[in-house]
């Protein structure tokens, strides 16, 4: 992409955003909309600054749950995918349950998990729920990736008497890397969604993450703070997404078609 393209790619969305916020501010001011219905962007900005230090611990809690759930999803997902690739029997036996876990809406499992573990340790309950949501994309994408290793390369590894472990680490895992990374990008966003949903269900101030702060601010009709917390949540999601995309680019840029710019 040339210089003009890059400039457009940054300035164009910014201009649209500025226009939108300006219009919003103007409408709120013109129609005298009360702040508990729709606060002006300037007011949200001020709330973000004023409440930042009170929102920060909540941000860190939600971030911690999200990152831990994500890390465990990657570890568990890759381990399970490797297990599947080693034994068709294990895959046949377990894969349906991974699917069931995925298709059952997390909101409907949440009350159960909160009852079972939430009373003693609400953070553990949040972690479990976020993990359930983040887990499946990793298993599904890595399983596909492990299986997509070049069959002739597999024959070659056989010819040279490679062990199962050598085949996994030196052939199947590298072949699965692009699949795993794209699964991670989906899973990273889902871990955050899972954490937020879990906090909503846990409610009642037991968990004091950002999602709880949104509910709490809503109850108190402190809509500017509600928006501020929401803003922080989406900023977190964006940062996670960008980091994972950066990682993908870093790991694949030398060899995978998806990360290499096309020469024309």
């Amino acid at each position: 992409m040339n210089g003009l393209g890059v400039a457009l790619r940054i300035t164009l969305p910014l201009a649209v955003g500025a226009l939108f916020l300006g219009l919003w501010e103007l409408l709120v001011w013109h129609y005298q909309i009360p702040r508990f219905v729709l606060p002006a962007p300037s007011l949200i900005g001020r709330s973000l600054v004023d409440d930042f230090w009170s929102l920060l611990p909540s941000l860190l809690l939600t971030l911690k749950i999200t990152l831990m759930a994500f890390a465990l999803a990657v570890l568990g997902g890759v381990a399970m995918a490797i297990l599947f690739s080693q034994s068709r029997l294990v895959e046949l036996a377990l894969f349906p349950y991974a699917v069931i876990l995925q298709v059952t809406p997390v909101v409907s499992i949440a009350p159960l998990v909160i009852i079972w573990v939430g009373f003693d340790n609400v953070e553990l309950a949040l972690l479990i729920l976020a993990w359930i949501v983040a887990f499946f994309p990793i298993v599904a994408s890595t399983t596909l990736g492990l299986r997509s290793a070049d069959h002739n390369l597999l024959s070659l590894f056989d010819l040279y008497g490679a062990t199962r472990w050598q085949i996994v680490t030196q052939l199947q895992l590298p072949a699965a890397l692009p699949y795993l990374l794209s699964g991670m990008r989906i899973s990273g966003g889902l871990a955050l969604i899972g954490a937020v949903v879990a906090e909503f269900v846990a409610g009642s101030g037991a968990a004091t993450g950002l999602a709880w702060r949104i509910i709490e601010s809503g109850n108190r009709l402190n809509i500017p703070r509600m928006f501020a917390a929401l803003l922080l949540l989406s900023a977190m999601g964006i940062v996670i997404f960008l980091l994972l995309r950066g990682l993908e680019h870093l790991l694949l840029r030398r060899w995978h078609e998806s990360a290499v710019s096309r020469e024309l």
Binding site: N152, L153, S155, D158, L159, Y160, A175, V260
Partner: protein, 263 residues
């Protein structure tokens, strides 16, 4: 049948039936002599690849035997298997690894450290003319260069038998000719045996000391022709009358093989 002095492998009455019921080979007889450059010639789908895979131990025979008159059969021990090099129709490189690491692979799988293998791998890359490209990834190499990496990888273990499955079929005429010459150069220097599968009459006559012609469904050897022309063979050989005579002879055998699919 002309026979080289010392047999390396003997396939006796080999049959292969695939899981889906396809009879790929039946009563397949072939003896490969030590230091021979044997071309297995036949139309697509006549079981040439199956022969190579069976010899490499990448599948089991349904009938008959594959004998290795001296030395352990590949497959009986991991170390014995590495005595075979295999070059596929596609370069079959690991896209995430540099040319160096692709060539290093067979040694790595044997537990040889990178440092210990470095000199050998670099010398091999030099021999296939890719020394400056050691750190380049496959996607940045041309088709011919990828095939050179693939050949270097097959030769790095100094195998006594090199199996090649239509390795140059996807390359352009000029690259193919150049790789033919380079392959002959590599082969003549060492004492190894080559079993080269191709469907090109011209390529087989140019390369081989002997050509075995296969008929399809089920695959069998129907003609066995020695090519008695001295090496080194160069461009001049391609335009000689002797080359043309051989091509005509081999081509006729191939047509007979296709016309009479056997009893």
């Amino acid at each position: 049948m002309t026979m080289a002095a010392e047999p390396l492998i003997r396939l006796a009455g080999v049959g292969k039936v695939y899981g889906n019921g396809t009879l790929a080979l039946n009563g397949f007889e072939l003896t490969v002599g030590r230091a021979e450059f044997l071309c297995l010639l036949g139309a697509s789908g006549c079981g040439k690849t199956t022969v190579l895979r069976l010899i490499a131990g990448l599948g089991s025979v349904s009938q008959g035997r594959i004998d290795w008159p001296d030395g352990a059969a590949p497959g009986t021990a991991p170390a014995g298997r590495a005595d075979i090099g295999f070059v596929f129709q596609e370069p079959t490189l690991m896209p995430w690894a540099s040319a160096f690491d692709n060539v290093y692979l067979p040694l790595k799988l044997r537990g040889i450290s990178r440092a210990a293998a470095r000199e050998r791998v670099e010398a091999m890359l030099e021999r296939v003319g890719l020394a400056p490209f050691a750190n380049v990834y496959p996607r940045e190499l041309s088709g011919g260069m990828k095939m050179r990496v693939s050949i270097a990888r097959a030769l790095i273990t100094e195998p006594s038998l090199l199996l090649m499955d239509e390795p140059f079929a996807a390359l352009d005429e000029i690259t193919r000719g150049r790789l033919n010459d380079d392959l002959l150069g590599l082969w003549r220097g060492k004492g190894w045996t080559v079993l080269f599968v191709t469907h090109s009459v011209y390529e087989s006559v140019y390369l081989a000391t002997r050509i075995a012609v296969m008929c399809p469904r089920p695959g069998r050897i129907v003609a066995d022709l020695p090519i008695e022309a001295p090496y080194p063979r160069r461009e001049a050989f391609r335009t000689s009358t002797r080359y043309n005579d051989y091509c005509r002879q081999v081509s006729a055998a191939l047509h007979r093989a296709m016309g009479e699919p056997g009893p």
